[in-house]
Amino acid sequence: VTATQTPPAPTAGPRLARRPTGVPTRLRDAGGVLGIGVVLVGVWWLVAATGALSADLLPMPSAVADEVVRLIANGVFWASVGETARSAALGLLIGAVIGLVAGLAIGTSRLLADATSVVVDFGRSFPIIGLLPVMTLFLGATARMEITVIAIGAVWPVLVQTVDGCRAVAPAVGEMTRVFRIGWRQRWLFVVLPGTAPYAATAIRVAASLSLLLAVGVEVLGGVPGVGQQIAQAQQNGATALAFGYVLYAGVIGMTLSAILARIERRLLRWHTASRVAA
């Protein structure tokens, strides 16, 4: 072994030593993942090809792949992605701000927590999409209605987790701020808010996937323009492969959204992750 050789990746080291084949774990994993994908598509292809389900119900993988590729050059597709993303993001933003403010208020006041407990429990367990017909009565099938529904839905997870975050501040820390007569401004800036932030960040990620769910739901049911409407329309026109293509992209939007938020969270909460690793 000479110094010029590249050292093995630290995590893969011991494992490599035990496996004489020497194929790096990551490469083998990639092969396995690919293999499973091939099997999944194969099963799909078999079911579709044998005609157990007609092409209207389960299109051939090749037909869906065609649509997936074709959609990239389709203006309607990009417009609908934009509409869905915009509504989900705006609704999430409004809901998260309300949830944070209300959560901080409720989390730091025992009185407020008792007074609002039933309302909060009711709100968090309310299937918000059920508000769609009522909201359509008020606001019509518009993007504004969609954003309102999403915002109402996004409030609850953020609110509940923020309350939990406020309460999770260690009692000793709370007592210490009181013993040292630390002013409320410093207490909020350096104790309450940093203590709550990790909880709120997790909650915002949960709320983000809920926002996308609500956006697509409102579009599927309420005929508001967006990816959901395209799915419903394609399905009703018998263009099942196209509908499948849109659904596949809906998953991509979801993954992109959570990846972006996870990155923001890691960046903003670097101090928190670092302190947890050290502990």
Binding site: F122, S125, P127, G130, P133, L137, S209, L213, V216, G251
Partner: protein, 254 residues
């Protein structure tokens, strides 16, 4: 604060809100926002003599079956993935992708494929509920302290007993938190599948009354939906307290 005062405080806000709604809407002539008294009587009439109770029963039946399937499948596969790091590494990209799919997006596909009977609803609900449970079961099983497993193995506990008495109880708190999330998703998918394509069910009741501008009925159905969602989540919470009594007891002791 005395217990009584606390209960009074807890109930004060809901009561105030309801009273405000009742009197605030009493003179309402808006087609969209009828007086609460009208909503209340619509709710009462349709529950006692109308279709609402039957609709509610059908909805809950679909939800119960779909949810039960999701719990069984989710816990089984989730525990399997938790026990086998190899398998879970290989399936990870697919699980991540599947969980990112907005669960309501495939309702049109399923309803389109299977028609408007109960089967597509049950399937949609099961698909929507399975991923939160699966992911939490995996996490729960993976976080079983290694010492427990080593101890069970050194006692030569048979695999099945080990799963039942060591792995499952240790993973149960996490599984329950997945079930809580899944219940919320399940109720949403239930409503969506009924609004999208159905001739029965609570979602259908709400939609059809909206389309005929019977807004008192729309509000009544919506309120009933909220009450059902609330009661179901409270029920799950109660059963969780019961099943996990040992867990809370041990946590409180430390």
């Amino acid at each position: 604060m005395s217990r009584l005062r606390r209960v009074a405080l807890t109930l004060a806000l809901p009561v105030v809100l309801l009273v405000a709604w009742w009197f605030g809407s009493a003179d309402s002539t808006s087609v969209y926002l009828p007086p609460l008294s009208q909503i209340w009587s619509a709710l009462w009439t349709d529950l006692a003599h109308g279709p609402l109770l039957g609709d509610l029963g059908l909805s809950l039946e679909n939800l119960a079956i779909g949810y039960a399937v999701a719990v069984v499948v989710g816990v089984t596969i989730g525990a399997g993935l938790g026990l086998s790091p190899q398998l879970s590494r290989l399936l990870h990209p697919y699980v991540e992708y599947a969980r990112s799919l907005p669960q309501v997006a495939f309702v049109p596909l399923i309803v389109g494929a299977l028609g408007i009977g109960p089967a597509p609803k049950v399937l949609s609900i099961a698909l929507g509920c399975v991923f939160p449970i699966l992911l939490n079961a995996t996490d729960g099983v993976r976080s079983v302290p290694a010492g427990y497993l080593a101890m069970a193995r050194s006692h030569r506990t048979p695999l099945w007993t080990r799963l039942r008495l060591v792995v499952l109880p240790a993973a149960l708190p996490q599984i329950f938190s997945g079930m809580r999330v899944a219940l919320g998703v399940g109720v949403v998918v239930m409503v969506v599948s009924e609004i999208y394509g159905s001739t029965h069910g609570l979602g259908y009741y709400i939609l059809s009354s909206e389309q005929t501008f019977a807004s008192a009925q729309t509000w009544a159905g919506t309120i009933l939906l909220g009450v059902v969602g609330y009661l179901l989540s409270q029920l799950l919470r109660l059963s969780e307290r019961r099943v996990l009594r040992w867990h809370y007891a041990s946590r409180a002791a430390t």
